[in-house]
Amino acid sequence: MWSETELEGSDVYGYLHKRFNGPNVIRRSGHRYRVGSPGEFYSDFDLLLNDPYNCRYVTAAYAQEIEEISKEYAIDLLGFVEKSDGGSVGAVRLAGALSIYTGIPNITVRLGRELEFEQVKTSRLEGEFAGKPQKAWLSGALVVVITDNTSSGGEAEKAVKAVEYNGGRVKDIITYTLREWKPPATERFEKRTPPIKLHTIWNLPEDIPERRRVEIGISQRT
């Protein structure tokens, strides 16, 4: 754990970049992607957030991205992605903190739910509609999708579709880490109509210091 005193004078990105040098954040892994290619390593967002100071700085980094987007339009909702396999809660753990920090309401996008209209969790209409199966009635709300890690962008795109199915719109996605991918996930979203901008705080593996890559035994970049 880092004490608050140690953080004084640190800038958000400088502090967070140090965390990539710390243990248990970037970890070697034997997992494979859906397409079959080896993952080799992964960024453990859950372990990063166990530390309150990491939480604060991660929240601040997302908030800076949100602030930039807010200069272009008024964001109605922050949509935190709970991933399909249920194994990773992704950015959901940050939802309350980031909502308080920005003053923007938050919703959860639950990709593991079987029913499309249940993938966006909000309060439903009451009165004559109470208790009935119904869409989330986002009524054109502008939602910024927030996730922890993006590789191909497939999961983030599912989140966008879930928001759209429930009547919302997405112009921006923020991911904490973006993995190198062919074609890059950014292109996938640029090609959408209308295009979506994918914001990233860290690019992997390029933002992992070489010394750390040697320590955990992952490939060197050519």
């Binding site: 739910r113 029913l115 249940e118 199966p133």
Partner: protein, 138 residues
């Protein structure tokens, strides 16, 4: 920890009951398996019973999450399709624990039927939500 004989007897009893309404199967089986530690039980129960308990646990948890505890709508307890699901799941369990090849073949058939009923039930709910959207917009 429950004895293997007790678990088998409970499975036989619960899967033989007549289910008057949809929620019964889920209530009975979920409360039966939800807190079971199958890893611990795997040292005393045979592979057939562990397999059946695992499938009940995963399936009922999935149905529960999607249709009951974490759903934004009232659980579809009146749904005929969900009732078919429940009955077929009970038959699957009842046949599975008998342990002869003929029952195994029938059990697998019941499991497939039950899962199909579950998805049919979900599709009915999506159709209902879509219709409500149309009605609202009109």
């Amino acid at each position: 920890m429950e004895e293997p004989e007790s678990i088998l007897a409970s499975l036989q009893r619960v899967s033989s009951e007549k289910f008057g309404d949809t929620g019964d199967f889920l209530d009975h089986f979920r409360s039966f398996v939800v807190d079971m530690n199958l890893r611990v039980l795997s040292s005393t129960l045979d592979e057939r019973i562990i397999g059946v308990l695992y499938l009940i646990k995963k399936l009922t948890n999935d149905v529960w999450t999607n249709l009951f505890t974490d759903a934004s709508f009232d659980a579809p307890v009146e749904s005929k399709t969900l009732r078919v699901f429940s009955e077929d799941m009970a038959r699957f369990v009842n046949l599975s624990i008998q342990g002869d090849p003929e029952s195994d073949a029938k059990a697998l058939q019941m499991l497939f039927k039950a899962i199909m009923s579950y998805y049919q039930c979900l599709s009915e709910l999506v159709a209902e939500a879509e219709q409500l959207q149309v009605d609202k917009e009109v």
